[in-house]
């Protein structure tokens, strides 16, 4: 279950940031997770609930944005949403396309509580 490694990294990164900001607590962490990133959303949610134990992120809301895929044709630069898998360019038929969205594995932001 690589989702657990991913969850542990998320907790590590976010805890470090919260500490750097002298946060008392973290109310929300926002993540961008692409549907092509190889992550199962349900597994990630479960893994996060395990990974936050005894960290400043216990009780934090995780907002997971599902980023849908977007392809660019390497021949005619047309942008299209791949049909299921990485597909062929619907404009020119080129098979060589690059996935420019959908592989995100990113912490977007943290909403922290600080002393006034």
């Amino acid at each position: 279950m690589h989702e657990l490694s991913i969850a542990i990294s998320i907790v590590d990164i976010a805890s470090r940031q919260a500490e750097a900001a002298s946060a008392m607590s973290v109310s929300r962490v926002e993540l961008d997770i692409g549907t092509m990133s190889g992550i199962e959303y349900e597994s990630l949610k479960f893994a996060l609930s395990v990974a936050v134990k005894d960290s400043i992120l216990e009780g934090t809301e995780f907002r997971i944005n599902r980023v849908e895929p977007l392809c660019e044709c390497l021949s005619c630069t047309h942008l299209f949403i791949p049909n299921g898998l990485f597909g062929q360019c619907p404009e020119c038929g080129e098979k060589n396309t690059s996935l420019i969205r959908g592989k995100e594995l990113q912490i977007k932001s943290l909403l922290v509580e600080q002393k006034e």
């Binding site: 490694s5 990294s9 940031q17 977007l70 898998l85 404009e91 995100e104 990113q106 922290v112 006034e116």
Partner: protein, 276 residues
């Protein structure tokens, strides 16, 4: 309105760039409002600076939004690029071999090591959750080997490789084979610093593996179809498997072989000898 992606807006050229991934910059000829790609709508610039809501908020504190845009795998990627620098400095070519459990990674390595004898120095890192079995098999060939046991972990990561290298100390100019944990999903997410990725499927598996596990095939350079000696006894359609794999990654190089009988292995050996 753009029919192709149905995103509903057209106008000025937009620059789509992925934060955290500096190697992809795309200027696009037509505009897209890609907010539709998130499963719930929200603005990204929350103004929660001083938001006094007595229900979910304690007096004497203030909320602050910290924008991060940090790659979750950033740390692993950093360590991987350090490994890759180490390999480069020592003239080592690292190959990451991945497959489902039992597709024949260790058997292929045993044969490869024999075939490279006298031609290239080799070293091996074996990744398995438990046991020293595979390392022992490699040890019998005479090649230097270390085993990484990942416990519950279903993949190798760059830090494990860094640690393994301290023990292994591969010779300059050698080919370093890294046998990843048998798993077609997780290992593909974790860069190790390797030069190339090799994915192995065997003819006893379904030919639709590439479309069921696209991430693995998408990131591979070579796809080996193993156990071809069994083709007369199974329904596996090689052409179909290749076209599935190509639909995911048109740049893949294919090799069909039997690690058991040695048939077809010479192409693989030649591919290795041509590296560097």
């Amino acid at each position: 309105m753009c029919d192709t992606c149905g995103c509903g807006q057209e106008g000025n050229p937009v620059k789509i760039s992925r934060p955290g991934e500096t190697d992809h910059h795309h200027d696009h000829p037509h505009d897209h409002d890609h907010d539709h790609s998130h499963d719930h709508d929200h603005t990204h610039d929350h103004t929660h600076g001083h938001h006094h809501d007595h229900d979910d908020h304690v007096h004497g504190t203030t909320q602050r939004l910290i924008k991060l845009e940090e790659d979750i795998l950033g740390k692993n990627n950093l360590l991987a690029s350090r490994n890759s620098g180490y390999f480069e400095a020592k003239g080592i070519v690292a190959l990451n071999l991945m497959s489902s459990p039992g597709s024949g990674k260790t058997t292929l390595l045993e044969r490869t090591i024999q075939a490279l004898e006298g031609k290239r120095k080799v070293a091996v890192i074996e990744g398995d959750q438990q046991t020293l079995n595979d390392a022992e098999r490699i040890d019998r060939t005479g090649a230097p080997v270390v085993q990484v046991n990942t416990g519950n972990g279903c993949h190798l990561d760059a830090e494990m490789i860094r640690q393994a290298l301290k023990t292994l100390e591969p010779e300059e100019g050698s080919i370093l084979f890294i046998e990843n944990v048998g798993n077609l999903v997780c290992p593909s997410l974790f860069e190790l610093g390797e030069r190339n990725r090799i994915v192995i499927i065997s003819v006893t598996e379904g030919e639709d593996k590439p479309v069921k596990y696209p991430t693995m095939f998408q990131h591979a350079d070579v796809c080996i179809i193993n156990k071809t000696d069994l083709l007369p006894y199974v329904d596996f359609d090689v052409t179909k498997a290749i076209s599935y794999a190509q639909s995911v990654n048109p740049a893949l190089t294919f090799m069909e072989l039997s690690a058991k009988t040695g048939e077809g292995v010479e192409d693989w050996i030649q591919w290795i000898l041509d590296l560097q």
